[in-house]
């Protein structure tokens, strides 16, 4: 084979594989200041008192196991990622450095967990991921970004909020979208251990996305004759073209 034909073949191969090369998402890596993943997996469960355990979205395409949808303004900044299993056995909180991102970019998270095999066994509803801009030391947060996992890809498109309701009856309400300002009952998990969180709220996104971004959500809980303090927070939605 002469030199020209060899070069032509290499060129053809590169052209054939180019969509794959270009479809690789920018990757967030662990903060170099704390390069070892801060994670725990044990039966003596760590317990979190936070009402919102995770915010995710199903039905989005994703490369790798875990992805975030940060705002373009967060480019080259930090993102805190908290991961908690429904049974409370796995818990992690780590700061990641975001890559350079454009509007609507999906960021793949490099998550070097020594429990990856165990994490992959958790079903779609059994692992909650909560992420927000900034370092994890940030105390008061009510503005979250959407996360997703490989196991949520095949589900219908919906915004999912994982709630530690204290076993109260729970409802979710979209506060700032007039067309979607409906109150929806959340599903209480009844099976198995619920130390991490016990309720899953879904806001359907299959037909249309809310007209506003970020979307303001309210979680309302009632425990027998007593209403618990409502929790309101913002979620930055990804640019959903497909």
């Amino acid at each position: 084979m002469d030199r020209a034909r060899k070069l032509g073949l290499i060129g053809a191969l590169l052209t054939a594989f180019s969509p794959i090369v270009y479809s690789i998402d920018p990757v967030a890596i662990l903060d170099p200041n704390s390069p070892i993943l801060n994670e725990v997996y044990k039966d003596e469960v760590p317990v979190s008192g936070k009402v919102i355990a995770g915010v995710g979205m199903s039905g989005l395409a994703v490369n790798g196991e875990l992805a975030l949808f940060p705002k373009a303004e967060s480019s080259l900044g930090f993102a805190c990622v908290q991961v908690m299993s429904r049974d409370g056995r796995y818990w992690a909180e780590n700061t990641f450095v975001l890559p350079e991102i454009d509007l609507g970019d999906r960021v793949q998270v490099s998550y070097p967990s020594k429990y990856n095999d165990l994490l992959n066994e958790y079903d779609a509803d059994d692992l909650a991921i909560l992420s927000y801009s900034g370092r994890c030391e940030k105390k008061k947060v009510n503005n979250f970004m959407v996360t997703t996992r490989q196991k949520l890809v095949d589900k219908s498109r919906a915004l999912i909020v994982y709630v530690n309701s204290s076993r109260a009856d729970t409802y979710i309400r979209v506060m700032n979208d007039p067309l979607k300002k409906v109150t929806k009952k959340c599903r209480k998990i009844t099976e198995g251990r619920r130390t991490g969180y016990d309720t899953i709220c879904r806001v359907d996104m299959s037909e249309r996305t809310p007209a506003v971004n970020p979307v303001k959500l309210g979680i309302y809980r009632r425990k027998f004759n007593k209403s618990l303090k409502p929790v309101q927070f913002l979620v930055v939605l990804p640019e959903l073209n497909s």
Partner: protein, 333 residues
Amino acid sequence: MTTPVMKGGLKRVLGIFSRGGFLRKEWLLLLMVILIMSLVFYPREKIFTIDVSTEVVSFRISDPKYSEWDISGASLQKHFFEETEKATLLPDDSHLEPSKGVTVQLQRHGVSTIYIKLTCDAGSVGRIDTGDGKYIELGEWALISIIGEVKPKLFPFRGTLDIGDDVTVGIDSILLGGSVSIVEEKLLTNGHYIAGKETLNPGDRVQLWKSQKPVSKRAEDGSCINSKTLNVVEEQREMSDVDGFVRTEPANNYFGPVNALNLVAHGKADYAEVNRFGSAGYEIKVLPLTRFVNDPILAILLGVVTALLLLLELVSKIQSFNDSKNKGDDIHD
């Protein structure tokens, strides 16, 4: 010393087990082991009995007629979002008629108010017969509070059961203590025996399960619709239906105050799942091999087979002794 008739009979018996005989010892032994093992592993009916004291219990009603309750004098709230809703005082002879599939949660701390919460994802949780020919129709959510009851109350039910709660932040009602017993069917008879008993610790959460995958079913007309009823959630196993009752004692009981809710329930199940704080939890089940110890019929059968094997061994030894004696006689002749 043996008579000729006895000698002939013994020879015939020995002949059965001889090398050319139609029942060789090895085959008989194998047959008996297979018989015993198949009797040990043959599935049997197991009834789980739960006897606990708890502050919280939930059940999903599968038979509404079996689960009607007297709620005379209780107060009713029907609206989830209206905490300040003025409660309706129910007249005497009021009865709760729950819908099929409704999730009922009972809660009580000490001897204080008894709360009965009824929830559905969609549809109606049921209605209240006020005893005067009128009904109060209920929506997706209802809270019935029984305050200052002066006599004991009994709440029977048929449905799936979830006792206690996982210990975590924000939980104030837990299982206080009790036990799970497993009663198993005796071999070849209608009798039963206690195959095991486990003590439950405060803070445990208990559910009864069947091993097989649930069959898909649709909600019936007029029933309370929830994700479980519609099988929206894919499940690998199905909770067992149990019959049971909750008894509550008044604060001024003759024997002094009796805490919280006392629950007794019986039902067929394959295992009980116990979630325990600070551990991976465990399952309560009967292992087939423990039937050797617990089932008297199987123990007797095993004894008989062992005696038979000993007899076979004895016969075999007599036979080899006779053979060697005959050989000795032939050499002398």
